[in-house]
Symmetry: C2
């Protein structure tokens, strides 16, 4: 029987895109298992029983071993030698610098960008109701408080988030920020460092970056170089 790694993802999910890009950059062999969240494919009992008990994407099935949570998946595959060292360092001191970002982002960048996207783009689509202007403003302020830290702290001294070269930290971060395009937010207007960094991330990851973002570009009606 052939050893296989099944990857369950939806390219409209930020961490799904991040792992998709990382897997392709790593030259990893995997079986593509797209899951259409918009059709509720993750909400079935079959999905819960056989694919992911938390009913979310991304997740993997590595020859019978099921694992959820994008960062946990990344570390697991790195430990198996499937992710090159320049993307996720093996030396623990360097790895900790990347981990510091991966842990930092959850309740800062991830939550605020996702809430902005969700409230402004997704919820109106699902409910037919638009958020109030003051709600949008509050969410924007929360998100920008975090983007300020990316601009002023993470990108203060280096070309990429954790040093002079691209790591998985940059890929995760870029995928979160790109999500806000669909809610018509253009991060590049207020944040020149983020703007230049996003270009570097895309260049370092392409063609995989554009493949993963194809639906984001389509929905937002913007190409990667578009200016609002």
């Amino acid at each position: 029987m052939k050893m296989s790694l099944k990857y369950y993802y939806d390219l409209l999910s930020q961490p799904s895109r991040a792992l998709h890009i990382i897997f392709r950059l790593s030259g990893l062999q995997f079986e593509e298992c797209p899951v259409a969240l918009r059709n509720g494919e993750h909400l079935t009992d079959e999905f819960k029983q056989n694919i992911n008990r938390f009913q979310r994407v991304p997740c993997i099935n590595d020859n019978g071993y099921k694992l959820a949570e994008s960062v946990a998946i990344l570390r697991y595959l790195s430990a198996k030698g499937k992710v090159p060292e320049h993307l996720y360092p093996k030396y623990f001191v360097d790895q900790a610098r990347v981990d510091e970002f991966l842990e930092w982002q959850h309740i800062t960048l991830r939550v605020t960008c996702a809430m902005y996207f969700r409230t402004i783009w997704l919820d109106p689509l699902l409910t037919g109701r638009s958020p109030s202007a003051s709600k949008i403003e509050t969410l924007r302020l929360h998100m920008e408080r975090t983007l300020d830290i990316v601009e002023e702290v993470w990108l203060a001294q280096s070309e990429f988030l954790t040093g002079p070269t691209l790591t998985v930290a940059d890929v995760f971060a870029a995928c979160e920020i790109e999500q806000t395009r669909m809610a018509d937010y253009d991060v590049r207007i207020k944040y020149p460092k983020i703007r230049a960094w996003l270009k570097r991330v895309r260049a370092a990851c392409n063609p995989h970056y554009d493949v993963a973002h194809q639906f984001v570009y389509k929905i937002s009606g913007t190409g990667p170089q578009a200016k609002l």
Copy 2:
């Protein structure tokens, strides 16, 4: 010059308590550096420059190497051999099971319990204004949606979150849940599995668990065994 590990924490911060318990359980030698968040000690320029550029706790300074983010710190010290294997497995397949929880908790358990605590206990203290009943209800529902998953999925089949014995996952989770005591929430009423599991976690961690929670017990006016 003596090698030293400085640990900056506030026992009213959930991940600060988690690491405090884990360090003591591990028999780790460290210098206690309490930071009084209530007095804004983390908001000074000196703190930003010399201790943590993100101006949060917990963080460490390991003989000059500064690191923030509780989970990143845990992994770094584990890689240095400072955390016993039964608390955080070294074998990558077992480690991934613990990582899965550590990654899962951020935008689920951590965010919802922290928001509940903050809105109901902390904000009124700072602003003098109490949240509306409907706001409290919404936050409670969000939090209980996550507690349902702890009860029904994580604790479905085993005594601890990721298997038959205590790991760091349990310590992190318990510290998040204990925080809600201060907002007068008693998790034990609706969640019998969580109730029994919390007792096991405390027993496995004591005396360190009660030391870390001394202010939580004091503020909430409840001892560890108290019933509302």
